[in-house]
Structure formats: structure tokens, C-alpha cells
Symmetry: C2
Subunit: 592 residues, 2 copies
Amino acid sequence: MSINDRISKLRGLMKEKGITAYIIPSSDPHQSEYVADHYNSRAWISGFTGSAGTVVVTNDKAILWTDGRYFIQAEEELKDSEYELFKLGVEGFPSYMEWLRDNLGSGDTIGFDGKVLSQFVVENLEKKIQDKNIQFISEYDLVGEIWEDRPNIPKEETFIHELKYTGLSAEEKIGKVREEMKKKDADYFLIAGLDDIAWLYNIRGGDVPQNPVIISYGLVSMDKAYLFVNKSKINKEVEEYLIENRVNIEDYDKIAEIVFNIGEDNTLILNKRKINRWLYNSIPKGCKIVNEIDITTKLKAVKNETEIENQRNAYIKDGVALTKFLYWLDNNVDKEKITEISAEEKLNGLRSEQDGFVDISFSTISAYGPNAAMAHYSATEESNAVLKPKGFYLVDSGGQYLDGTTDITRTMALGPITDEEKKDFTLTLKGHINLIDTKFLEGTNGYQLDVICRYPLWQEGLDYKHGTGHGIGFLLNVHEGPHNIAAAPNNIELEKGMVVSIEPGVYKAGKHGIRIENIVVVDKDIETESGQFMKFETLSFTPIDLDSIDVSLLTEREKEWLNNYHQEVYHKLSSYLSEEEQNWLKDKTKSI
Amino acid sequence: MSINDRISKLRGLMKEKGITAYIIPSSDPHQSEYVADHYNSRAWISGFTGSAGTVVVTNDKAILWTDGRYFIQAEEELKDSEYELFKLGVEGFPSYMEWLRDNLGSGDTIGFDGKVLSQFVVENLEKKIQDKNIQFISEYDLVGEIWEDRPNIPKEETFIHELKYTGLSAEEKIGKVREEMKKKDADYFLIAGLDDIAWLYNIRGGDVPQNPVIISYGLVSMDKAYLFVNKSKINKEVEEYLIENRVNIEDYDKIAEIVFNIGEDNTLILNKRKINRWLYNSIPKGCKIVNEIDITTKLKAVKNETEIENQRNAYIKDGVALTKFLYWLDNNVDKEKITEISAEEKLNGLRSEQDGFVDISFSTISAYGPNAAMAHYSATEESNAVLKPKGFYLVDSGGQYLDGTTDITRTMALGPITDEEKKDFTLTLKGHINLIDTKFLEGTNGYQLDVICRYPLWQEGLDYKHGTGHGIGFLLNVHEGPHNIAAAPNNIELEKGMVVSIEPGVYKAGKHGIRIENIVVVDKDIETESGQFMKFETLSFTPIDLDSIDVSLLTEREKEWLNNYHQEVYHKLSSYLSEEEQNWLKDKTKSI
């Protein structure tokens, strides 16, 4: 069935249901960053395979909205269909909500599958069109009705994340949630975020590629805790664990019914950005809603001592795999044909040999030369460059281990590099050191720290068009809130125990891409008359390419940080390496 | 009349009007930062003379709320009355709105003078007590009814701020306001901010000490512009200027009537934080309100070329006065008795000798030794320290000139200082240089830059508990929005032409206080593939005390900045100085 045939079938159904415009977003019922194939309706209806985009279809229009990362790809993928591309953030292109407001009239209807649009998005849409008499029709998944070979909702098996990794039992975590509920006089806490639920109940699965979560909902009251899940995913052992921890297991689809039956006059805490319209509509009318970041999101962001100790271990194993890879690459780039994709496979293989390896934590970015100038590059058969003994190779990768989730980026010169490349690498490193080595006052938010990392780049007229750092899960999603380090205000302070990435870069189209990323955990530093100061403890250990550094641009303090870091790298990794690898690492971590 | 007698008279009136609790804030009808004595009802009713505080009186309670700057002073000033002190920001003390919510019941009434509470504050109060049946009574200024020797509303004469200073006529500015109104489909723009009105109509006065504004309201439609003012303040010349610029002059009290008569179905732009409840209530019910920062506030923040050129000149004159003062102090501190207050008088005298001097721009902070550890210190007869030839003296001062408003802080060693003092001074200087010499990407907001200044202090466990910088008026208020440089998010980008202070410090109770403040104007820097970069042009020129610097802590770049700055100081100021002063300045600006 061609894309235009799909549109045409959709229009038939729209007519039947009396829908003027139908919205197909990129989301699943849990507003996950990455979704199972089953939920990729937007890709199926449009042919556009990028990770972010929204489709609106009317009787005579079919439009796709996507952002700057995907303009070229979208143009290519849409060219044989009637889709128009609307470029987000480009002057002259309205957002899809503005477009609906401007192009629909009184008496028209907007349709969407209420299970995949969040209550937050629906309320925004309501506000946008409030002056017009437009109704919503949210009960039909029209794409589902015409998508013949649609992949099933995944049914991967669930496993217990053991206490030796998590440090707290599910029951203890539920107790902490209830303490927070008490502070807000809440009767119920409703959860849709898959990583939040997995964290709370100490269970993991495989329903979303590289994200070890289970498709489920959660509901906690002062005396009950529910997991709503396809019961076929829960084996005897998991069932017993959950019962032992006083968790009731219910069918995935039963969530709306149970929520509906909690009765009026209850106070519910929930996050409208996570709860879908369908589920929100099941809340009894008399209930009071406290809309805020999920309690679990805030609790899980602050890692406990057991989790931190496990993570330290996971990052060493991960550093061993990456170091072995860099050794192999350094020694073979001029001997055999290595492509971006074959390098990626080699690295994935080395990671999978590590103890407790579960999966990689995201699609490896293996980018050579100008390909690395695309910050979110993913090698395809067409783009797959052959690595040569010159210029930069950038690798951004990570693993899911029983004892933690990792994420790290290194950029390495595979041979001679230009002065410009060397300078850009050194400035990136200076930004990295500036931030990773800073003290900061307790109560500081990530947005305050962002510029510390950009500062050395700005002085030379350079900048990177992405955030400086993101939170990271614990055998969970590689991107995890609520904290981050970015220019946009985010009112979450960096607390002791929070894990975050530090990843400045330089990207020059047609030339090269550089990024240096380490993961750190927030810790306490000195207390003075000005207050309690905080610092970062580095978790990731893999050499930073000395051959790419213009040492004359580094301050004494920066050299000292780098030398200390490299000494630690050697100390922590060498015993897991072969003699040849050890010798190589010795040289790669020598003092400058 | 004792304070308790005043409270008792107020309670009599409250009973008469059926008011349960009466609020007396620190504000005037224009929400000015500094108010004319006429509006200092809160000081009169409470005896507390600090600049910020709110009083609530009920039948059996009298409470004053104030912040940490004033706890000691308030305790002292309230001790002979029945007032209780409620400490803002201290655990266990509710805000006055929370207190009213918790202590008033159904059927009670809250009274206040609607002319001095902003619509923003009243709406917040409404939200706080929405669950209770409590009415507002906002039509009585009860303190006014019992305050016998109340100072009059000032009637200082108005003068024209000439075109050679402002660069744009009032009519041109009104035209710019209308352009902005058109973008929002607005019919009217209502203005209460005294500096906004003075800027718009190119007039100045003397109604608020050190703030050359005129007590007035403004109203702009697409074809009319009004100034509401006591007409006795407007002489023939000003009247002619305003008529020439198509400004209608109306009586101050006529604002509500004219607003009421604009009729329904109009769109009004106004700032609820500036418009008082009384005036807001006069808006016809059918009107649409666009609540945002005043158009004039945004326009006036971006100085035009004429204003910038004038400011450069004003800052040189101001630098001459301050440099003469520092020379005098340096040469006389060990010869005659100089106190904080006599030093302040000397400096005010030197400023007043400068061309175009109108007034000082705020009460000079003249602080010796430990007194400077209070960031907002103001010398009194009791605290007035004698300056000695050792330790630090801090002076934060500024002037109102026809060609600009200035603000500058210098800290000088009057003799030997401790190693700790030297280190703290040098770290403050490093922070100052870090920010004043930075490049930053166009579109950057002040909150992103704040940490650049704090960074060197944080690394040594130090911090200052105030913002890094504030905007400054042009022969107007010394604190002017909407931009600033501070940790709290403020969604205003630093545009070319904006003037802002850079003023890091170190404050150690019982020891010393240090602050180094210069004023800068935002300018364009290079454009690269990463975008347009911006920089700061320094406006203030006065030597930074070399004797207080530990040169070994400075980087080469920092030394270079300081040497270049000092060369400019000498170059710009020396021709206005005596030979002795020149020789002194030569030494104080020598290369290090």
C-alpha cells in the first residue's frame, strides 16, 4: 500500500467518523522518548522514519512537522507522497496547533487517538482553539484500523532488579512515595512513565529497544500499590516478588476502570505531560488534581549509595570495553577496512562481553570525519564511511548493565589532524574540564552551570547547539529527568546523588565533529561561611586523546586535571587489559 | 502620638468601616522602588523605617513583615510598640498572605488602599483566600485619615530632557510605542511606571529623591497620548513641548475617569505589577487586557546611539569625581579625621561640581572595615566609623547628570591589608574580569551569564548573596529593568544597547566587604558559523586598587585586561585632573 493509499484510507475513516482533521503524533501511551514499533503510527502513515514528527491529515491536506535535525531526511522520505513538510522553528511555518487554529472553522472536529496524546498537549490545543467552536473526537485509533501488518505490543519477559543493585526494596520505595504523597495530602499517585514504574517496583523488561522497561501503568494509594501490565510478561518469580512487596498486579487495560472507581473527592498527584488523554478522562470528576513532575521521577534521580557504588563498577567495565575498542581501532585503522558500521559492531561486541551486560543503552553514534558534524548522526548503509588514518572519529555509545546504564563519547585522531581540528578539540576539552572540575553552591540548578562549559568555546566564537548534560537512568533510560545542564531554565537543583553527563562539542559542517562526554555524580564539597559547596565525582574512565590536544592552550590547572584523570583511568582499567593493551593505555594516559 | 496610639486610632476606623484586617504596604501608586515621603504610611504606622516591609493590623494583632536585611533594625524600632516581627524567608514565619488566609474566617473583610496595592498583588491575595468567603474593602486610605502632619505629594518642577541627550523626540518615542501596540492589536497602552512616563515624554522632575521622575500616569492610544499630572508642575515651556509632541496634559486624578470612558471592546496593554487596584478597577468590563512588561520598559532599556554617546561622557565626568575623591582619601586618611559620613559628603561635593550634575543617583554607600560586610550599608550617626590607614574602604555611589545616570563601586586599601583581604579582593577582580571581558552568543539572557562572574569565587568557597548586575536608567532610576544578570531566570535577552552593571563582591561579617562594580553597554562582536557573538563595552573609568591585588593569582589574560583598562582610565581622565592628581593616577594605573 503506497503512502498516498494509506492517506486515502485514513480519509475514508475520517469521513465516516465525522473528523475534519486527524492528528498522528510520534508518541506512545506513556510519552516515552523511544517507542516500541507498534506505536510508530506516524512513520507508517507518512513514510518519514525520523524519531520526532507530527502528522495532520485533512480532506485535502497531509502535512508533516519535524525539526531541523530531519529536514533533509524528511524531504527525501516524503517526496513520493502528497505530504507537505512544515519545518519547526523556521520563520513562516506555523506549529501544527497554530495551523489547526487558522485552517479549521466553526463546527469542524479534530480527531486523534486519546491514548497517545498527553493531557498536557490536549489542554494546549484546547487553549489554542478556544475561540472557535471545534470539538475533539479522541476515541479512535484510525491508523490502527488500516495498518494491516502492525507489529504487536511487545511482550518481553520481566525480571527483578535485585536488591544488591537497587539498594531499596520495592516496598521501601513505595513507602518513600507515600511520604511525599502525605506532604501534599494526596490520596493517589498515578504513574504512566515506564521508567518510573520499573524503578518503583524494581522490575525490568525489554519492551522498548535499548530501554529495559515494561509497558505498564502504576497507581499508588496510601494502602495499595498497583502494577497494570500484560500478565503474560510476569513469571512466577516476579509475581512472588511483587506480592511480597505488597504490589497488586492487574491487567494493563484495567487501569482506566480502577481509576474511574476510586470515587470522587480524592486528591490525585499526576504529571499531565505523562498521562494520556484517555486515562485522564477516566478520573472521577470530583477529584482534585495536583499536576507536577512525578514523585518517582524526583526520587529516582537521586541515586542511593548502593546504586552509586554499582554504577562506579558498571562504568569501569564500560571503560574497559571502550578502551579495548580504541586500542583495536588505533592499531588496525591503517591495516584493514573499517567502516563506521563495522566499528560500531566491534564496539557492541566488546561491550557484550562485559559482566552483567544486558543491552546497549542507545544506538551507537559511530561517525568519521564530516559525518560527525551531525550531532545525532546514525550511520546507514548509504552514509557508512570508511575510516582512514587521518582526521577525527567520534563514538558516542553506552551499555545497559545490571549494575547501571552508561553513556560516553570520545573523539580520536586516527592520524594527522589540522591545526583547526586540534584547536577545536582543545577548546572542547577546556570547556569539559571547566565544568567537571568546578565547585558550585548547594541549591544551584543545571541552567546556572551550562555556561561554565561553553565559556572557553564562546571566547573563540564557537558554540554547540545542544544542551551540556542530561540525567541518566540506572539500568533504565539513558535520558532521564528531571534535572539537566542546559541554557533553558529548569527549576531542579543538582542534589547529591544525581547523575548527569557533561558533553560539550564543536560541529563544523563539511569538516568535523568533536564531543567529549563523561558522566558524573553530584557530591558534597567543602562548607564555608558562604554555604555548602558541591562538586562532581567522575564515573566514566577512558583516555581522552592526547594527540588531539594543543597543550599550549591549556592552563596549569587544566593539565593537572587531565593528568590526574588519566592516572585514574590507568589505575582503574589496566588490570582488565592484555599486556599490549596495557602498554598502549600507559602511553595514552601519560602525563603532559 | 505613640505607635500604639496610631494603631488604636486605626482600629477605630477599621471598626467603623467593618474591616477585619488592614494591610499597609511600602508602595506608592506607581510601584516605585523608592517612594516620596508622602507614601511612607507603613513607616508612620509602625515606626519601622527600612525600605521594605508590610504591616497587617487586626483587632488584636499588629504585625510587620520584613526581610533579612532589616531583622535587627526592625527589632530595635518595634520594641516599644505592640508590633510583632515576622521574618520573611525564615522557617516558621508565614507570608502576610498566608497569615491572612490562616487567621481570617468566613465573613471577614480585608482592607487596604487600592491606590497603593498593585493588581498583581491583589490577584495573588484573591487566589490565596479563594476558598473562604472574604471580601476586600479597597476604597479607604485609613492611615491618611489619621496621619496629621503627613508630607504632601511632591510638586517639584518638571523640565524637558533635550533632544541632544535623548536622541528621539517624545513624538518619535510615542510612534515606536504605537508600532508595538499594532503588533498586539492593542487600542490602548496604560502606564503607571514613573520612569517609563518620564522616558516616553522626555520630561524629568524631582518628585522622588534621587530619582528624577514626575508623579504621573500615562495613556497612549493609536491617535492620542496623555500625561496625567498635577498641572502646577508643568511650566509654559514644558507645556509647549508636550503640545508640540501631541501629548495631552490632564489632571493627575483624571486618569480613572478617562480610562473608564474609553468604552468596552477595547484591547489594553498594561503591566499588572505596575497598575494599582484602583486604576485597574476603572477599566470598562468588556475590555481585553494584555498583561505584560510595559512596552516603554522594553524600549527604554535599549539605549540609542545618542544616549550611549552621552552616557560615555557622563561616566567620564563621574570617573573624574570619584578619582579626585580617591586621591584625596589616599592622601588624607592619615592626616585628618575622616568618617564614613564626611567622606560621603566630600564625594557628593566633587560630583556636584561636574557639568550637568543634577543629583546623586542613590544614597552613597560609604563603608569602612566590617561595616562594608553589609552589602546595603548606609552610614548613620551611630554607625559612622572613622577611616584609618589600614583595611578596606568601600564606596558605592553614582550621579544623575543631564547626559546619564551613573553607578560605580570601588574598594580601596587605606593602608596594610591582610592576606585574606588581598585574596578576596583578587578573586572578586577575577570574577569581574571574567564577565566584563567575555564574548557571548546573541540571544543570551542575563541569567546565563551570572555564573561567569561567580566562578572564580566559587572555586575558593566564596559567594555573594546578591545579583551580579542590574540595568540602569538614563537620567532616570539607577535600577531599571527588564534585563539583569542574576541566577534567577529572566527571559530577557541582552540586546545591543542595553546598559548593565557588573558587581561581584565578597562579604565577611565582622571582617570586611569588597565589591568591584563597573557599568557596561552591550555591543556586537564577531559573527562566526556558530552565530553572532556579543560583548560588553565598559563605560565606567576609575582605577581599581592595585595595592589590593595578589598578582600571582591573575592569569596573563586578566593582567592584560587590567593593564588595558588602566591605560584607558588614565587616557580618559587625566586631562581633567590637577598635576598632583595626574601623578597619583599615573601610579595607580601603572602596568602590572
